[in-house]
């Protein structure tokens, strides 16, 4: 294997695609659309949370100077009677109003009147105000505990990391899932481009000339590497955008410092998803070599995309018992490994040897697949646009060099 030539093919393939309009749109415009679509409801929520609410205290339990504090800013307007509050709601002065029942101290009854339920964070602020109002003379430390009775600390399943915040817990639990979903997404959106890229060699009749300069495995491997690097670039940019978005959320929370990032999950994602992509890419390339045309290749590649997302159907059983023998076996099968192994990582502490086994099997499968595609490619190169017959396919796979089809 001449790695210089393989790299040359990969680089040429990469540079030829990375400047294309399709790639630029998919890489930069698509995430922008996703961000805009995701941001609109958040912005609308922001507006809602800043709304004014009415408060009618029929119990007399709340101190008139009760401050209302919480994560969200709430404007609270006191009214003496429900009628006044209702009038204000109808007039649009308040979104709705909270009525502290006369028997609140005995029963704890509250009632909210409004067209829509208030934002949960706004409701949390109102509850804090109630807790504060119950003991207006209490020292500040008691007020703090009344406002926030529990500050949870979580022990992560893996690496014994100490997670201080719900954000970190979510990050650690969701990162493997998000990465496996990203992998499946990248496969389904880019696989159908691989077969045409391989078919291009045949259709543009350049193969015979190129094959006198390098081995088929260098050409096929280089093309797959170039296309994989392209996908990695795209995924990397998307992940970077997601990281920036999460960092903004973290900063917005005002927790301070930086959250613990599950780097080991990212490491395993690279170890599993890169060969996983190469494996599916090889299979797509193989289908491209033996198919009759681009349209047929797209259709067959569509079946491959179904195989790529098929682990999703197994998720229920894997999530129920992530460490069961069935889950373990499924997660080391090369075609399922990237998605299932990462999913298991989000559910349980997966023994490292199982992850290593999945990675090794994946890389071995990639090597075998590329070698097989290279043989098909060589046989196909000599057919002048004809399709390899089933016998020709078997013959090509069975011998190093052959001309018969």
């Amino acid at each position: 294997m001449n790695f210089r030539k393989l790299w040359l093919v990969a680089r040429t393939t990469y540079l030829g695609q990375v400047r294309s309009t399709t790639f630029l749109v998919m890489t930069f415009v698509l995430p922008l659309i996703v961000v805009v679509v995701a941001a609109v409801p958040i912005l609308l929520d922001e507006r809602d949370s800043a709304a004014t609410y009415g408060l009618v205290d029929l119990s007399g339990a709340l101190d008139p100077s009760t401050p209302v504090s919480g994560e969200e800013e709430i404007s609270l307007q006191r009214y003496d009677t429900e009628a006044d509050a209702e009038q204000a709601r109808v007039a649009g002065t308040v979104e709705g109003y909270l009525v502290v029942a006369a028997d609140y101290l005995a029963e704890g009854t509250l009632a909210y009147h409004g067209a829509e339920a208030p934002d949960p964070s706004a409701m949390e602020g109102l509850e804090r105000a109630l807790r504060y109002g119950l003991a207006p003379e209490a020292p500040p430390w008691l007020h703090e505990r009344l406002a926030e009775p529990a500050i949870w600390q979580y022990e992560a399943l893996a690496k014994g990391a100490r997670l201080d915040d719900g954000f970190e817990v979510t990050l650690w639990a969701m990162a493997p899932i998000a990465l496996s979903v990203l992998f499946a997404l990248m496969l389904t959106t880019t696989l159908n481009g691989i077969a045409p890229a391989i078919m291009r060699e045949r259709e543009e009749r350049s193969m015979e000339m190129v094959l006198t300069s390098l081995r088929p495995v260098e050409l096929v491997g280089g093309k797959l590497l170039g296309l994989s690097l392209l996908t990695i670039t795209q995924a990397g940019i998307w992940l970077l955008a997601a990281a920036v978005a999460l960092a903004l959320v973290w900063i917005n929370q005002g927790t301070g410092g930086w959250p613990d990032v599950p780097w080991h999950v990212l490491g395993w994602a690279v170890m599993l998803c890169v060969p996983g992509y190469l494996l599916y890419g090889s299979l797509a390339a193989g289908l491209g070599v033996i198919s009759g045309g681009r349209e047929q290749a797209r259709q067959i590649t569509g079946l491959l995309a179904i195989l790529a997302v098929s682990p999703i159907w197994m998720l229920t059983s894997v999530m129920k018992a992530p460490l069961s023998p069935a889950s373990t076996i499924l997660s080391v099968i090369p075609t399922f490994a990237p998605v299932l192994a990462l999913f298991r990582m989000s559910m349980a502490e997966v023994p490292p040897w199982q992850l290593w086994l999945a990675a090794v099997l994946l890389w071995v499968s990639v090597a075998l697949a590329i070698a097989a595609v290279a043989r098909l490619f060589r046989a196909s190169a000599l057919l002048y646009g004809q399709i390899l017959s089933p016998r020709g396919i078997l013959s090509a796979l069975g011998t190093r060099k052959e001309g018969a089809a």
């Binding site: 040359l8 543009e204 350049s206 015979e208 000339m209 006198t212 300069s213 081995r215 000599l382 060099k401």
Partner: protein, 309 residues
């Protein structure tokens, strides 16, 4: 004698029940243009592919550039296949850099060579064009440059002049001559017999996978030539000793000579004939076209397809 660049012995290749190449042997020397001839389906492309190690022979031996074909050999070979193709969405310049580097040239070297060769074939101004924007002739020249700019020791060119106008034909021919002068061995497969007559020193004619004619072009032509001369003269030819028949043709005579009669004797007799002035005297040699038709004519007419792997 020049060193042997390609040595083929008893080459055999079958596809299923079809024997594409049968016991073919030949050698190609450094510094020569070797004509590989044959009708469609004769086995030329199969032979070329075996030389290039694209397919394996069933039996026989091939030595290329001094030994068995290796990966290193690829960088010393240039190949222009009959099936032309370029990466359509690549710029010509990028294409040259890619192909040159695949042949082992450094980036600096390939830039220098590509510029020189593109200027030589008048494609320098088109270097920023995508391959799909090139005309057929331009594309063919570009592919020739891609096959030749690493200055290989063995060049195999299949129908190098098809689709080229006379000016571009001359440009490519000059490039081929330059390669020959550098000592490269050139195997040229073509149906254009006049190009072979003009450019090749030796030929191999294959028919139905078998070697029909092999050797020096002049020897082959002599072998097929009849003892005939063509003369342009003024005056009455009369009876010339040794001439069996005289046929008027194109304002002159075609004279069939008897066995054992040397053309020089006839010329001497004509010159010495009173009232006769000889303007042109030429020994007629059978054209390669005629030889080709004689050997494989029936297959050329039926146009049978070549057996391709």
């Amino acid at each position: 004698m020049a060193a042997i660049a390609v040595d083929v012995e008893h080459l055999v290749k079958s596809f299923g029940t079809v024997r594409a190449v049968q016991e073919v042997s030949f050698a190609v020397l450094h510094g020569e243009i070797f004509g590989l001839l044959g009708s469609n389906g004769a086995g030329k492309t199969t032979t070329i592919r075996m030389i290039l190690d694209l397919i394996r022979p069933d039996s026989g031996r091939i030595a290329v550039l001094g030994g068995a074909f290796t990966e290193a050999t690829k960088e010393r070979i240039g190949y222009l296949p009959e099936e032309r193709g370029l990466y359509r969405d690549m710029k010509l310049w990028d294409l040259m850099l890619f192909m040159g580097q695949l042949k082992g040239l450094s980036l600096a070297a390939v830039k220098e060579r590509a510029e020189r060769y593109l200027k030589q074939v008048d494609l320098w101004d088109a270097r920023e064009l995508k391959a799909e924007a090139l005309s057929r002739g331009m594309g063919q020249k570009a592919q020739f440059v891609a096959a030749a700019m690493h200055e290989p020791d063995l060049v195999i060119i299949d129908e190098p002049f098809s689709g080229l106008d006379p000016v571009n034909t001359q440009v490519i021919r000059e490039l081929i001559y330059t390669m020959r002068a550098r000592g490269a061995a050139i195997i040229m497969s073509t149906h254009q017999m006049h190009q072979v007559e003009e450019m090749c020193q030796r030929i191999l004619l294959i028919d139905r996978g078998q070697a029909m004619l092999y050797g020096e072009l002049d020897e082959v032509r002599d072998r097929f030539s009849t003892n005939t001369v063509e003369v342009q003269l003024s005056g009455d030819i009369g009876a010339v000793p040794g001439v069996v028949s005289a046929e008027r043709q194109n304002g002159g005579y075609r004279l069939a000579l008897g066995d054992g009669t040397a053309p020089e004797d006839v010329l001497r007799a004509l010159v010495n004939t009173p009232g006769v002035q000889v303007h042109r005297f030429e020994r007629l040699r059978t054209s390669l076209d005629d030889i080709f038709v004689q050997v494989v004519g029936h297959r050329v007419e039926t146009g049978e397809e070549e057996v391709r792997p």
